[in-house]
Amino acid sequence: MSASTYTNVLGLAAAAVLLCAVVTLWRRSLGAIVRTLAVQGAALACVATVIGLHEHDVGLIVVGLLVLGAKAVVVPLLIGRVVRHDPNSRETDPLVNVPASLVAAGALTFLAFAATRSVTSLVPTTAGRLIPIGLAAMLVGFFALVTRRKAVSQIVGILLVDNGVALVAFLATAGVPLLVELGASLDVLLAVIVLRVLAIQMRSRLGSFDLDQLTELHD
């Protein structure tokens, strides 16, 4: 792989991860949000694989394939089944409205860029320079977590944060130890399953995914 192709493909894949995070803020339909998450997983897998190919690191390629399987297929399918219980469910009224969320996403991206300015100069590799994008994806995910009401969007938010962290890890170290990555992924998978059960429970008890209704449990 030539240097410029590597730079381009890696940049595009990282940008796609960030773009997907932004799109989850943009879309209202939960189904579309989950599909976006799948695309993000695929983009993340692409990042790992491309770095692996470039560095001739078989472990990283394997991680990439695992990420593809877990984050682009399995996890979205699991969440997708929650959504299927209520196919019309939409993130109708987020705490921060969509245009403002999008503008906030832009601002967070700038913040990520500013905050990592000093770090990126220490990591002179092509991948290292893309760290701000990973951080931005994480921040946008966090924002989704904070401002979205539905349980499914919350799960997606956690996964966005996780994907952002994974992206930063891939870019910063050019390869997380296989075991660490697997452990982290397993962790998240577990969390997803628990949350999924909770969400379905919640729906059967409260009749919706709306987390605001949890406040009613207070009394």
């Binding site: 245009p99 403002a100 700038f110 860029f113 500013a114 300015r117």
Partner: protein, 673 residues
């Protein structure tokens, strides 16, 4: 030395105008004062052009005129540019004043104060020392305050405007004074020349304090957010020629102050100063344009649009400082050029707009857009001039507003690649602010023209409007001509702008812009051929008109009733109003504007299914005024209530306070001594 004589002669002629206004009988005073003011403008303009031509300052000193400090007048190229700007607005505004005189400007007070106001505007940029500057600055504030209050008997609004203006302008003057005093105390002299030598070596904390104080003081005069609240109150209440001068020239002097202190006296500063300026600028631009887009009072709209334009200027000033702090002198110069060009353009079109708004008020007795309409048919020349000025402020080519925004955009564009983190983040956001401001300005002025001048008249007085006297139209025409000329041939003022910029940012050897018909940024890839663009646009318009005539069978259109969906009756009430026109913008930005809507439905007594009347009120208050100033005012008022207890009205008690204070003072002296 002859040039120095011109400066003094200008000042004396201006004073003569004030005296003439005070002493002459009613039929004569306005004309005589105006003639003398023109002479003063002529003198000052000649001096300014002389200074710009030789590029050397004129220095005048007199120890006798002011006690203790004397008077120091220094006219350098930067000041000269601002003098020319003031002259450019003052001549048409005073010309307009002749026709407008019977609307409050021909009283003895107004006829005396108005020339004095113009004179102080002319002289502020020539002040060369702290004392001189502050004296002229305060006189300018005082005279403009008196002029805002000319109509004080007429309305409560004007008295309230006067109070707001008085308070903010004096708080501003106080902070400026403190800033100057700190500088003077550390410089061993109060002339700007002495300060400029010493200020560079001050501790950075002191320098920052001085700059921030000056920014607050001059920002309040310039109408920057959050010190802008006086602007949308005072500008609408002032007589239109005064509004034009306040909005075109006086506000520009606020920016002059920021450049004077930041660049000339302090010699630039660290990046964060200029980021503050950029943030203030961006906030002012967005806030001003949003409120302009949702205002329904024509002059209030124009006042908010002043805040918006000053915001853009501050963006340019901030960018200039940022580039200067990161050692990009050429970009800094380009930014400052764009700031000055934006200011000059703003003076031209805003002057024209305020004067035309005055004409509308004279012709219809109203400045509420919801009561206007159809004025272009009734006042064709005023309407056409307003339209051109509105197009200029909306930055449509080939008019001058476009040139200013193009320069600003170029300076931001090239600044986005210099590789400093601050610039990397600030510049794209500044571009976004510039863009949204430009878009909202179009909304505001399509509304002003479309609702105010087109369609059907919404009130009887608008229906009966007739064209204003010729002098008033001529005055607006002069300013609009400046807009057109500077749009087609902007290079005419560039030599002056460049000299002024080099005074503020010394050490720049090269030229900033290549001269000639086309605009070219030296050393950067930015080009524009405004004359050719205007020419080809005019050619295309004529060509297509000819083509339309040739191709169609019917050369002139048949005048028919508007179709309007076949309604049986078409009335003015079916049209969109200014409120409804702005409704989409208001709804999109309701988090910022926070409109208060009040719907009141009265049912008839017999059945609540039959409605007797519906009242709908939509008001957009200034959110900054409400959330920042109202609590302060409330606190002050509460404190005042407490303080009232000290004032029982008994003379003996007051005398006792005096004695008490004296005793405490003496005790303190005794203890310390």
């Amino acid at each position: 030395m002859t040039a120095g004589v011109l400066v003094v002669a200008g000042a004396l002629l201006g004073l003569g105008g004030a005296i003439a206004g005070a002493l002459l009988p009613k039929g004569w005073r306005v004309r005589a004062a105006t003639a003398l003011i023109w002479a003063a403008c002529g003198c000052e303009a000649a001096a300014a052009i002389h200074v710009l031509a030789i590029d050397r300052p004129i220095v005048l000193r007199s120890t006798e005129l002011l006690p203790f400090t004397g008077v120091t007048l220094v006219l350098n190229s930067l000041g000269a540019f601002f003098v020319l700007l003031v002259v450019m607005v003052a001549v048409p505004a005073t010309l307009y004043g002749i026709g407008y005189a019977s609307h409050g400007l021909d009283t003895r007070t107004a006829a005396c104060v108005f020339p004095l106001f113009v004179t102080t505007l002319l002289l502020v940029p020539t002040a060369g020392s702290v004392a001189t500057f502050m004296a002229l600055w305060e006189l300018m504030a005082l005279t403009s305050l008196l002029l805002v209050l000319v109509d004080h008997s007429a309305s409560e609004a004007s008295r309230s405007a006067g109070t707001w203006y008085a308070v903010l302008t004096h708080v501003g003057a106080a902070t400026i004074l403190v800033a100057f005093l700190i500088l003077a105390a550390h410089s061993g002299g109060q002339t700007f020349a002495a300060i400029a030598v010493h200020a560079r070596h001050l501790a950075s904390g002191v320098r920052a304090l001085v700059f921030m104080l000056a920014l607050v003081g001059f920002g309040s005069k310039a109408g920057a957010v959050p010190f802008h609240v006086w602007l949308p109150k005072a500008h609408p209440e002032a007589p239109s020629p005064v509004s034009a001068l306040m909005s075109g020239a006086m506000v520009a002097l606020g920016v002059y102050g920021i450049v004077l202190v930041g660049d000339d006296l302090l010699g630039g500063g660290p990046v964060w100063w200029w980021l503050v300026v950029l943030v203030l600028g961006g906030a002012s631009a967005l806030f001003g344009s949003l409120h302009a887009a949702s205002s329904t009072d024509l002059k209030r709209l124009l006042a908010y649009s002043t805040t918006d334009n000053i915001g853009l200027v501050l963006l340019a000033v901030g960018a200039a400082g940022l580039y200067d702090a990161t050692r990009h002198p050429l970009l800094a110069a380009l930014s400052l050029v764009s700031a000055l060009v934006l200011l000059f353009n703003h003076a031209a079109f805003k002057g024209a707009l305020f004067l035309s708004a005055g004409s509308v008020q004279v012709a219809t007795g109203s400045r509420d857009l919801d009561r206007l309409g159809g004025l272009l048919r009734r006042m064709p020349q005023t309407g056409a001039l307003f339209l051109v000025a509105a197009a200029a402020i909306s930055a449509l080519p080939p008019l001058n507003g476009f040139i200013g925004e193009w320069l600003l955009f170029q300076s931001l564009l090239h600044g986005a690649v210099i590789g400093s983190t601050a610039a990397d983040i600030a510049i794209p956001l500044a571009v976004a602010a510039l863009a949204l401001t430009a878009g909202l300005t179009v909304v505001a002025f399509v509304k002003a023209v479309g609702i105010g001048f087109l369609g059907r008249p919404r009130s009887e007085s608008a229906d009966e409007a007739t064209e204003v006297p010729r002098t008033m139209r001529l005055a607006v025409g002069l300013l609009v001509a400046v807009c057109v000329v500077l749009g087609v041939a902007p290079t005419l003022i560039f030599p002056a702008v460049e000299r002024a910029v080099k005074t503020a940012l010394p050490g720049l050897g090269t030229r900033i812009l290549a001269h000639g018909v086309d605009l070219q940024v030296v050393g950067l890839r930015g080009m524009l051929a405004p004359a050719a663009l205007a020419g080809s646009l005019a050619g295309a318009v004529v060509g297509i008109m000819v083509l339309r005539r040739a191709l169609s069978r019917q050369p002139t259109p048949r005048v028919v009733e508007a179709w309007g969906c076949g309604r049986q009756l078409q009335t003015a009430r079916m049209q969109y109003t200014a409120t409804s026109f702005a409704e989409p913008v208001q709804r999109v930005f309701d988090d910022v504007l926070r409109p208060v809507q009040d719907l009141d439905v009265t049912h008839v007594a017999e059945s609540r299914y039959v409605i007797e009347s519906v009242t709908f009120a939509n008001t957009v208050d200034d959110a900054i005024e409400r959330s920042l100033y109202t609590p302060v005012i409330r606190a002050v008022r509460r404190w005042g209530q407490v303080a009232r207890r000290l004032q029982p009205g008994s003379v003996h008690r007051y005398l006792a306070y005096g004695l008490g204070a004296l005793v405490i003072l003496l005790v303190a002296v005794a203890v310390m001594g």
